[in-house]
């Protein structure tokens, strides 16, 4: 597998050859920022198009097909429409907080986005406490939702924000527990190390067999809830709350919420791919030399994107198949079922690792 850190190290030494180190780091930070924003926009467009098409196929419709071939330009048209819309200023709202709330959502999703390992040696933030950092910064989004609901000074956003806060705080526990299960298996919290181990010893979902599969299913359920997507889309239940916490937003401020929602979906899928499905590690079967050789020729980031989009497809499938839950059902699902199951699952994984029963 090609190690991308060769390229980044070469670029760093090239820059430090002609300028002081702090200027080199500054330029590198700027390039990384451009990279993140560009990828963010491209992924959002791809995901919105994918969601509309997949949703249409699940509902026996065709989906967008007028703008461009197969409706490919539909999302661009929507983006330009949103950019030209007026941002409405309401008299009773707290303008400062109202304008700031979308940026909290963006901050949380940029920071979690930066944790993802794209390829061997290609990760933006690779702390030795990576998983912990990921869980910590994903909590910033809750502040954004609560502030959006509160500063709108309107009933629907308020109720939507309260529901959303309760939901996100609860389901974050399950996400943390499933990630702990994986940490137990790998013995490290660094994302690059987790993926490297999977490349060496096999994907976590196979290596950890029963507890890993249980953790993967719980992660999918909790991840869907973390992204505020159906069957857990209560915070923005259209039939009851018009649009939930972003009812009073218009123009690009609404666009930011929309963008962050879709990117959170991708981040959820990418994290599942990283910690369960081996990240950039290719498929290997012991003994099949020719097959393994062909698989290792495919670059790591293609493997990564394929796995991430596979999980994203699973999440969309769940969304367009199940009916919406009630708020009390939603909270009892987390606190009475998912939490105890994931706690027992950690115990099971600890026993499996302790007695060396991993595959």
């Amino acid at each position: 597998m090609f190690d991308f850190s060769i390229v980044t190290k070469w670029f760093h030494s090239l820059l430090t050859g002609v300028m002081p180190e702090w200027a080199a780091i500054g330029i590198e930070c700027f390039i990384v920022l451009l990279f993140i924003i560009l990828l963010y926009a491209i992924l959002a467009i791809a995901l919105i198009y994918g969601e509309r098409k997949i949703c249409a196929f699940f509902q026996c419709r065709i989906g967008p097909n007028r703008v461009g071939k197969w409706g490919l330009l539909q999302v661009f048209a929507d983006v330009f429409k949103m950019l030209t819309k007026e941002i409405i200023k309401m008299r009773q709202s707290d303008r400062f907080l109202h304008d700031m709330a979308p940026y909290f959502m963006l901050l949380a999703s940029f920071l979690t986005f930066a944790c993802i390992p794209w390829n061997k040696g290609l990760a933006i933030l690779d702390f030795n406490i990576g998983v912990f950092f990921f869980i910590a910064v994903s909590g910033i989004g809750i502040v954004g939702i609560l502030l959006a609901g509160w500063s709108s000074r309107s009933k629907y956003p308020m109720i939507g924000a309260m529901r959303s806060g309760a939901q996100l705080v609860s389901y974050e526990l399950s996400i943390g527990m499933t990630m702990l299960t994986v940490i137990l298996l790998n013995g490290t919290m660094q994302f690059s190390e987790i993926v490297q181990q999977q490349a060496d010893f096999g994907w976590n979902i196979i290596r950890g067999h029963v507890p890993a599969i249980i953790a993967f299913i719980i992660y999918l359920i909790a991840g869907n809830a973390e992204c505020n997507r159906g069957p857990f889309d209560l915070p923005e239940a259209e039939s009851e709350l018009t649009a939930g916490y972003h009812t009073e937003y218009s123009g690009m401020h609404f666009g930011f919420f929309y963008l962050a929602e879709y990117l959170n979906l991708f981040i959820c899928g990418a994290m599942a791919a990283t910690i369960f499905l081996g990240g950039w590690a290719p498929i290997y079967f012991p003994g099949w030399e020719g097959f393994n050789h062909v698989m290792s020729l495919i670059p790591g980031f293609i493997w990564f994107f394929a796995k991430a989009f596979f999980v994203v497809f699973l999440l969309m499938w769940i969304r367009w198949t199940f009916p919406r839950l009630r708020i009390d059902q939603l909270l009892s699902l987390e606190w009475k079922y998912l939490m105890p199951i994931s706690m027992l699952n950690i115990l099971l994984m600890a026993l499996v690792v302790c007695f060396g029963l991993t595959l």
């Binding site: 180190e21 780091i25 950092f133 869980i135 910590a136 909590g139 609901g149 806060g165």
Partner: protein, 171 residues
């Protein structure tokens, strides 16, 4: 050089937001400024290469304490009242004396404390304190182990949960 520039940026953010947090008249804005102060502090920890403490800062304060504040403010339904009460001279004098005393105590500790190991701060590195060392120290019963405080905090949190349940249960 880069670290110094970043330190001054973070310090300016922390100071500006801390002043804004106590001078603003709207309580929700105050909570938001407090959040920025806490983020700035987390940034300082990251600057020192102490990523664990930085993450804890973000998780406990941004994900926990400030969300709790905002929730409590939303639930109590207090819309901010713009008219402020007149504060008497005695109260103003008391506030001034209290803040001066606080500043004096703070300065005394900063000046009199000799900071050991300043060489570590000149070359910040993540590797100084690894997560393995932290975990083993936290659960060790030997010298410099933190087993007893860890358990004491657990019991305290359990007591809080039981207390909250008793207050919130249906009668």
């Amino acid at each position: 050089m880069a670290t110094t520039i970043l330190f001054f940026i973070l310090a300016a953010i922390i100071l500006g937001c801390a002043i804004a947090a106590v001078t603003t008249k709207r309580i929700m804005r105050s909570a938001t400024y407090l959040l920025f102060v806490l983020f700035g502090t987390a940034g300082l920890y990251f600057l020192m290469g102490y990523t664990f403490l930085g993450s804890v800062q973000v998780m406990v304060y941004a994900g926990g304490v400030v969300v709790l504040y905002i929730f409590a403010l939303m639930l109590t339904g207090q819309q901010d009242n713009k008219e402020t009460h007149k504060i008497g001279l005695a109260k103003k004098a008391a506030a001034l004396i209290a803040s001066l005393a606080g500043a004096a105590l703070f300065l005394f500790i900063i000046i009199s404390h000799r900071f050991a190991n300043t060489t570590l701060l000149e070359n910040p590195s993540e590797q100084t304190t690894s997560i393995q060392t932290l975990g083993q120290q936290l659960l060790s019963t030997g010298q410099n182990g933190y087993m007893l405080p860890f358990e004491a905090v657990s019991v305290l949190l359990l007591a809080c949960i039981v207390g909250a349940l008793i207050i919130a249960r249906k009668r």
